[in-house]
Symmetry: C2
Subunit: 229 residues, 2 copies
Amino acid sequence: MKLQKVTDAGQAEPVRHGRRYRDACGAAFALELVGERWALLIMRELMFGPKRFGAIRGGLPAISARVLAERLGELEAAGVVRREMLAPPASVAVYALTDWGRQADEAMLALCRWSLQSPGHDPSLHLSSAGLMMSLRALFRGGADTAGEIAVGEDLFAVSVAKGVFTVRSGAGEAAAFRLTAADARPLMQLFYGKVGLAAAEAVGLAVAGDRAAAAAFGGCFALPDKLA
Amino acid sequence: MKLQKVTDAGQAEPVRHGRRYRDACGAAFALELVGERWALLIMRELMFGPKRFGAIRGGLPAISARVLAERLGELEAAGVVRREMLAPPASVAVYALTDWGRQADEAMLALCRWSLQSPGHDPSLHLSSAGLMMSLRALFRGGADTAGEIAVGEDLFAVSVAKGVFTVRSGAGEAAAFRLTAADARPLMQLFYGKVGLAAAEAVGLAVAGDRAAAAAFGGCFALPDKLA
DNA sequence: CAGAATCCCATTCGATACTG
DNA sequence: CAGTATCGAATGGGATTCTG
């Protein structure tokens, strides 16, 4: 009722909240689509693959079920998210970004890179596996070609550096030279944000398998930008 | 009181609204800083130079004075905006982006480029001169080197294409080959968004001075992206 | 006139409880 | 687990008013 109104033809038409910017600039239109509270973070959670309602909540512990349901409805009406029913016998609903929704990652990365220059950023907060991978993409500084896997809790990602381009995919990787495993993002943040060595990260819960030298070199590909103030 | 609390030492400490994301990802932190309603559009208005309170309102006719004052206070506390007192005899307050605040333009451009792919975008809405220049930057597709001036209402911008890079500055331009003048953004939107010729834009209020061929070529450097749906 | 302060109301958010 | 219902609290928007 709040999210959309059904026209005479029965078509869903996004009405959104009465609050519009009434501004023809693309930035304003983007904010109409994904500027509501939590919207961009929900998209981040879906950036590496479809997720169930509960899995999104898992990545965003501070969101309430009500707001999450509301946002998913709005994002679906906006064409950013698609609700899909998995085939039987699974028969559960998952939420996935549309192709267009996935293209918002450039904007998201730009926001990450910008905000991480601030000395006010607090890396001690909770970080989901999707948030970690997003941060890695934002923090990539370049380095030698390599490939590996990162396992965070239940989630597995294939990462690679090829020709100076860093790529993350969901799932197992081809020809992974190393694998970093941790129960949550904390130890990996130490390694990537904190610029500590592999050994220090292992002391706080990281497990390294495979080529240790390759893993260490990979860790050196990322750094927080220089702070401003 | 709502924007900041004064500590024992008397220092201003951004408390924001109780609503936090509690998420270590840079995207979440960016949203804490500039994710409130109107914040990014206020920054857009300041992107090409400092403005007075009333001038910002002029660019954002739908914002209320209360919310604008509140946002300016928050953005100042966040280090994105600086409130400056012009030297006498002017002695008026203006709001300017800090260096860091200006760096958010990459993220803003990415949002523009993303959202303008949507068929839902409505170019018939109001557009401020800052919004127009932002949109031009987002719509730039490349073209031959040139330089000119664009005058929208009271505002004057120097634009140039050099080595495939499009630049906008506030004020008069060096060696401008042409000048496009209009009372508001509408005729210029016709030219740049609408892909109509110079003559058609002149029919709706555009005035062209100087080298017409250069002006026409400049107009051809911009285009809306292909729509998705 | 610029812009801060105040009041009122509609909407939204967040937390908890509830249901299939 | 996947949402929905409900309610108090906070916010946004608009109008009005004060102050210099």
